[in-house]
Subunit: 545 residues, 2 copies
């Protein structure tokens, strides 16, 4: 458990059209991450990752490691500096040399500060080889800082000159063997992005630059993205908008043009690098043959910024639950208030410790800025976008004491629910637990009621004993859909089953019930919040009954 | 659970006096890590960390993160590239410029590939500042790759040009405030090195180069080290052997000259960097004052290699239990053997899964090289130094089946203990559990019997109901001491109590009992193995009774 006042978080306000350290502020994530004290530019295209953003990266890296290890990939580390002569041999020193940062050592030997490691990996395999076909396939990966001398670094962490990346390299005998690995990595990418609840699409890409035979980009749809895609409104087809794609070539439905950010790529490289650098394998009775390579990347720092682009609003950060800097913030009483004077602060610290025990170990932050009003601190917390906020205000003086529970929405937070201490702990435990499960839902069918605003009145009227989903569409609006038992039932007749794989909304939260609260002015109650995978829900024909 | 055949581990044999990629093989860790397929040079002073070594680094990094977070340090990340002009301002571009790798971007701007980040940190504090005195002290840290253009990189990972380091930076108001942080970090260093069971000493150092006021080196005693220390044979005094130190200046006892490897440093820097770069804080009613800085480093990749220097023998790796690549290896039956033919391999896989459940999750490796004899695989396993080895050989055909349990010694392994499946799981669970506790022993007194070879005969004769310690002295030999209840008792009269803080042996393992095994040729049995802190046990005057 940490105290907010101890967090190194230099919050600032950037004047409109300001230029910070020779860098123009051009996008939401850049502005918010800087203003909220999460990231700080050192010079054009270089950034210091401050503690709260570092926590996000830690969580992202842990998820990536887990996903890669699960498919049998083995972590290793290649040096950042690669001999320039390797880049000469593959022809890339000439091809993309202007984007490479170069280093010359005291003996005049030239190195490249690697933006990627195909050369280094092929050289390693060559150095060890020829490998036996029995040693293949092989999948090696690292997470490390990469370097690219962008002519005009911009958009903060979305296009920086030093950035953290996952890069994985497959070594295979044949294209068929490479394809199998490619599919394995594709699946683990989907799983990772599902866990992050982000609308990330696999898009066929030309693989020319890398010299391969098969390639996809992984694109996160966000209004501020620089890439442009055409998405089918009915099926899962997404293509690069290089030509006019009015109609889906898969299902003939209408397509919609959207902006996106590339957060990953996957390539089957073939023999380009292995042949140039002599990385061979031998099969029974054959002469050494170039290894058939594949490679895979995910921009870790870029994904952090891209998730802010996708989920944040104009004034506040929002996070995938799985990578929020802290999952729960407790705002303690104001110094000198009635609740403070009855020893509320000591009680809040005990509460924090208990909440850490119910599934939020290391993820509870205590706002101890006692001299500020609760309102002011709530405003700052909204800006940071903690998924759960517990406020210990005036109602903690009641008998029994009551705590206010808030959960984040795309803009602002839910109306507070007043809970006793025991109720609060049970509730937070459920939210914490569900935040880590239900990935299986990706394969479930959803029954979509409709994309209505989630007004308490409407919700209360529905009266279902089913599941309610808070969703987000491509323009960032929150909408709600309901999953109810199939077949007849209250309103059941009006429900259209939709395969979630063929849809266009991403589910952010699930409510397993909505009831009228006993508290005045609090019309509904969230009983369960789960992290769902990226479900794309097709436009519904149903209505709220 | 992983299978050995799937691990990417290019094992080679280096001919005597070989030169690998322009690098001479000059030390034990360099040779062993290369031959065992853990590390691979790419060019002089640069190394690829292969999967097994990467696992060691993962564990080391996790321990370091844990230790730093525990004292309230906040993780962050500074860019590898620091503007050269910052190094100009502190004068270090001139002072140590020749050791710096430099980069010029496409616009001609100059950067340093940082070997350390005092400049970057002071610049960050200046950029944010002036800080309020209320924000101090502050302790920020990172683990990242650093760069140094060594004139003649040598000794493998002990002196490479790109290396992983922990670097932490304290920001304070006064020297007194810095001293408090310094003590906190010193304590967490001790705790870390205790966990690693490595004989690491804090040695006063001149702080000239860094411009500070207080400085220590953290030195691991190892015969192959390049630094030279004088150690008191009685008390904890260790000094750099810059002059002749025949006699301890603390207790007047004789001193002994030993070799060592610097694995960490700690500095109180004062105002040198903050004054040069304008990093200020303000107290009530004062004008901005330079922040009083401190800094702390641990060479992560160097520590990996140094631990091999300290614990490994001429032909085989040995690891601190806490960072072994895998803690337990199971050697399955040979293909075609009787034990194989009765379905032994399936049984071994089930056993492996069960052993993962008793405290070794992710740390069990299965040797599935079925075509090799058990003897050959045992030899390879010895070379890798897995702390625990379970052999499923001929005796698994008995009724009930018996498994052979081995634990690593400085040279070779203990004689095997034959255990039933249930006994084995209980035993491994105990070893796994104890591997993580008993750090508290550092403050206990030990009763030293003597530094005799641990022959079963002697052990059995002792007959104590006390604790037996496997120890290691500076020349790498394993020795054994016994802790027994104070006062008279069997042999008690001959025991000399020794304060473990004033001693010269490090305890590696503890046996809570030694009994004659029922098995022929197996004279003793290890009932408990614990990771102990670095105890330095003074030369004993006692004898085995
Ligand atoms: Zn379509
Ligand atoms: Zn002394």
């Amino acid at each position: 458990m940490r105290y907010l006042s101890q967090i190194f978080q230099p919050v600032i306000t950037i004047p409109r059209d300001a230029i910070i350290k020779n860098t123009e502020i051009t996008c939401k994530s850049q502005k918010l991450l800087l203003e909220c004290g999460l990231v700080r530019p050192t010079s054009a295209g270089f950034f210091t990752i401050l503690p709260l953003a570092r926590r996000v990266l830690n969580k992202l890296e842990t998820l990536v490691h887990h996903c890669m290890e699960e498919i049998g990939a083995q972590r290793m580390s290649l040096p950042s500096l690669t001999a320039a002569k390797l880049w000469e041999k593959t022809g890339r020193l000439q091809d993309i040399g202007v984007e490479l940062l170069k280093v010359e050592d005291r003996h005049g030997k030239k190195y490249v500060l690697s933006p990627t490691h195909e050369e280094a990996m092929a050289d390693l395999l060559a150095d060890i080889g020829p490998l036996s076909y029995k040693q293949l396939p092989l999948l090696l990966y690292q997470i490390s800082n990469k370097f690219r001398d962008e002519p005009r670094p911009k958009h903060g962490l979305l296009r920086s000159r030093e950035f953290s990346m996952l890069d994985a390299y497959g070594a295979h005998t044949t294209h068929a063997c490479a394809s199998e690995t490619y599919d394995r990595v594709t699946n683990t990418y989907r799983k990772l992005f599902d866990t992050l609840q982000l609308p990330i699409h696999r898009v066929a890409a030309p693989s020319g630059a890398m010299g391969g035979t098969l390639s996809h980009e992984w694109q996160l749809t966000a209004d501020t993205g620089e890439d442009i895609l055409d998405m089918c409104l009915k099926c899962d087809r997404v293509v690069r908008a290089e030509t006019v794609n009015d109609v889906c070539d898969k299902c003939a439905s209408e397509m919609k043009r959207v902006n996106s950010i590339e957060v990953g790529h996957t390539f089957v490289l073939g023999e380009r690098y292995s042949a140039a650098l002599g990385a061979h394998y031998t099969a029974r009775e054959t002469t050494p043959t170039p290894i058939y390579m594949s490679c895979y990347g995910i921009g870790i720092t870029r994904l952090l910024a891209a998730s802010v682009e996708a989920l944040g609003n104009d004034k506040a950060l929002r996070w995938p639950d799985a990578i929020a800097p802290y999952r729960l913030l407790i705002i303690g009483p104001k110094e000198g208030s009635k609740e403070w004077s009855i020893g509320g602060w000591e009680e809040v610290q005990r509460l924090g410790q208990e909440l850490e025990q119910v599934g939020l170990a290391g993820d509870v932050l205590l706002d101890d800025k006692h001299t500020h009003t609760i309102g002011r601190r709530m405003k700052a917390a909204d800006r940071m976008g903690y998924p759960i906020i517990v406020v210990c205000g005036r109602s903690t003086t009641e008998n029994p004491p009551k705590y206010e529970l808030y959960t984040s929405k795309a803009v602002g937070y839910t109306a507070p629910i007043l809970l006793t201490r025991t109720e609060l702990i049970t509730e937070v435990a459920r939210i914490a637990r569900n935040g880590n499960i239900d990935i299986q839902l990706a394969s479930k069918r959803l029954y979509v009621l409709g994309f209505h605003g989630f007004s308490p009145t409407i919700s209360y009227r529905t009266g279902f004993r089913g599941f309610y989903y808070q969703c987000r569409n491509k323009s960032g609006m929150s909408n709600y859909v309901v999953e109810a038992p199939a077949g007849p039932g209250p309103g059941g007749a009006r429900i259209s089953p939709v395969n979630i794989e063929n849809a266009s909304y991403s589910v952010l939260k699930r409510y397993n019930d909505i009831v009228k609260s006993k508290e005045d002015k609090r019309e509904y109650r969230i009983l369960e919040t789960v992290v769902d995978p990226v479900h794309e829900l097709a436009g519904s024909t149903g209505e709220i009954p």
